[in-house]
């Protein structure tokens, strides 16, 4: 199986969140992302830093991860981004 590049992994994580009604607990997100826990933590930290996702807590104090506007924008523009990178072979 072809190894996913960084942009693909980010796309997959964001897509999982969106497909789960834009709210998912970190543990199922880790499982659905097909990443090691170390890589998953690195990616989540990066996505939080970039403002693509944010953490929210429910009334019981449980952590959930949701997409921000930038996260939705990334998903919307992913096809175009990939097209650009592939066309210029960057």
């Amino acid at each position: 199986m072809k190894k996913r590049d960084r942009l693909e992994v980010i796309h997959d994580i964001l897509k999982v969140i969106r497909d789960n009604h834009n709210s998912i607990r970190p543990t199922p997100l880790l499982r659905l992302s097909n990443l090691s826990s170390q890589s998953f933590n690195d990616y989540i930290r990066e996505l939080l830093d970039k403002g693509f996702v944010k953490e929210i807590k429910d009334k019981k104090g449980k952590r959930f991860i949701t997409l921000t506007d930038s996260g939705f924008e990334y998903l919307d523009r992913y096809k175009m981004i990939k097209g650009f990178i592939d066309d210029f072979n960057l």
Binding site: L7, R77, M80, I81, D86, D87, N89, L90
Partner: protein
Amino acid sequence: MFRCPYCNPVWMSVELVFAAAVIILCMLIFFRTKELYTLTEHKGIRYFRNTFLFFALAFASRFAFHLFGISGAGFDFRLPPELMGPLPLLVTSYFSTIAIFYLLFSLLWKKIDVKYFIPAAHLLALSVAVMIFLFRSPQVLALVQLMITAATLVLAYLRSKHSKSFSKLFRIYILLFIGWLANLLVLSPRWAIPFEAKVASYCISIAVFGVIFYKVHRLTRK
């Protein structure tokens, strides 16, 4: 008889329009890809953008020196003649060489850690520019840029020959190579080639940057 090179309005108009057109096209490519880079922080996109930023700076320096020339002809202010010739060549050489290096890096970054090569590339571009400044030899520039462009072309060929986008990508790099050849004519002394040939080389350069901008615009439109 001394002839002021900046006193011919036709020449100056052509030079200024050409430089302005290339600067605008390069900056359009640079800003058009800003959002892509902000979203992804993709190294390939960063190096690709830098290519056009440095091309724009190369032509902006030409533009600025032409304006200096005009101001010298129109007002009582001029740079010393011993600087007015080689100084634009120094600045333009540095920026255009580093621009081609960045194009090479945009293809190489996945294979090697280019961050160690970037200072070396700047140093090499600066050395070449200083050498050209001291010896007033555009041939050195031509040779160095030819080598880097040829390396980029070979790399683009090797990287994309098995991919679906081979023909599209390779066409772009062939275009850039043609643009580079045209630019050599642009950099050559005014007397070395006929006016018509130089104008034709300007048109080719503008067309090359125009095609790349069109492609970027098409790929990045919302």
